[in-house]
Symmetry: C2
Subunit: 242 residues, 2 copies
């Protein structure tokens, strides 16, 4: 073993794959993609990798473990300074993903904590809706306000809405004129609760309105409001300004 003069040791693909903890197919694929070709072949076409090839292989494997795509790895290996550029992009993408995952995790935990699975699906749908209509800043603002309210405050708000909706629905079913003082009082309360939700932020108000316009009251309120009731409330509010 001592004086073994194997100046350029060569590796066959299977050997090398086993060594590096990869599959033969992976090495084939890297070759197809132009990342790593063996510097020699035997007469019968067997791939022979040199020490130099092996070093390149380990570099590629390392970069792959950093999450780079094969295209990015090529870029990193070809250009000087390419590594830094590619890794910076990679880090940014990773940060975005980690943020996303953190939010997702919270969501999943909430889903698991919830016992009623219909209710929990509704929660997810609501969040999805929010994501579509509120800007990230607006969402942060809404979250801030929710935090300020605390769990009891949130429940209180929900009860307030449930009560108000029930009262409004009762008037509508009774056929009360929207201009009636009782209904007008409810409409005023309605505006107050919306004001409390938007916190007076005109952007949030606009987003909310766009959501109701585009999705309709049933979707936007996740079933809390019927189209008929929304219509009735709108009539009462237009009455108020007369």
């Amino acid at each position: 073993v001592a004086g073994d003069m194997d100046e350029t040791r060569h590796w066959r693909v299977g050997e090398l794959a086993r060594q590096a903890g990869l599959t033969v197919r992976t090495l084939h694929h890297w070759e197809e993609r132009g990342l790593l070709a063996p510097s020699e072949r035997t007469g019968a076409g067997y791939r022979l990798y040199s020490d130099e090839d092996v070093r390149r292989l380990y570099r590629i494997a390392a970069l792959r473990d950093l999450g780079l795509s094969l295209g990015e790895i090529r870029e990193a290996l070809e250009r000087d300074g390419g590594l830094r550029a590619v890794v910076e992009r990679q880090l940014e993408a990773l940060d975005r993903r980690m943020e996303h995952d953190a939010r997702l995790r919270e969501l999943l935990v909430r889903v698991l904590e919830s016992h009623d699975s219909a209710d929990l699906l509704a929660t997810v749908e609501m969040i999805r809706m929010s994501d579509r209509y509120y800007t990230p800043e607006q969402q942060a603002e809404l979250a801030r306000r929710r935090e300020q309210l605390g769990p009891e405050g949130m429940e209180q708000a929900q009860r307030d809405w449930a009560e108000l909706i029930a009262a409004m629905e009762a008037e509508r079913e009774a056929g009360t004129d929207p201009a009636d003082p009782r209904v007008q009082e409810l409409a005023r309360r309605w505006s107050e609760l919306i004001e409390a939700f938007t916190g007076g932020d005109p952007g949030i108000r606009a987003s909310l309105q766009r959501m109701y316009e585009e999705q309709g009251p049933e979707q936007a309120s996740r079933g809390a409001l019927s189209a008929e009731l929304a219509e009735y409330v709108a009539r009462a509010q237009s009455q108020a300004s007369r």
Copy 2:
């Protein structure tokens, strides 16, 4: 708009896609995969989605946002309690990914902080190697020990090794007999440093040895040790036991 009796409103695929923030192709795909088929078609084959279909669509979209695959969504919607099971699996997978990402992020930051890109690639390769040969527990143990050493301790250890390797290489080049007392002293020091690294843990010692056997001294030491020098040290150590 008021008394509109559209008992079963129908949606065409484009409309619905726009509403839901999806593409038409996505709805086609969901249909191919058996997730959501419109309950009606026009004579010409136009898809018509009912309110019921729309509700199902929103449920699917919500679950997709939770990161479920289309297959998992089917499972969740078909079986009772399927949602909980699927979400639990999802959460476990997410936790694993988040842990992985956290480690990856550290790595990427270290790569960016390093100025010599060859050096940084070596670091990544070393970590890859460690992942292959040390169990998670052993890695934790090694990390604990590194932390205990602190940055100065680490640098000191690296200097110790560099010195010892240089001294050993000098003897080898000079052709000193491995049994020579000077070489024997170096070999003793060598064993001490390995002992310091493994912390006396036999598992770590075995993993380290397996790594050197399977990868060879050059790869395992990331170029710090030549095959010849490793051979020389081995001879010196076997001499010691005589």
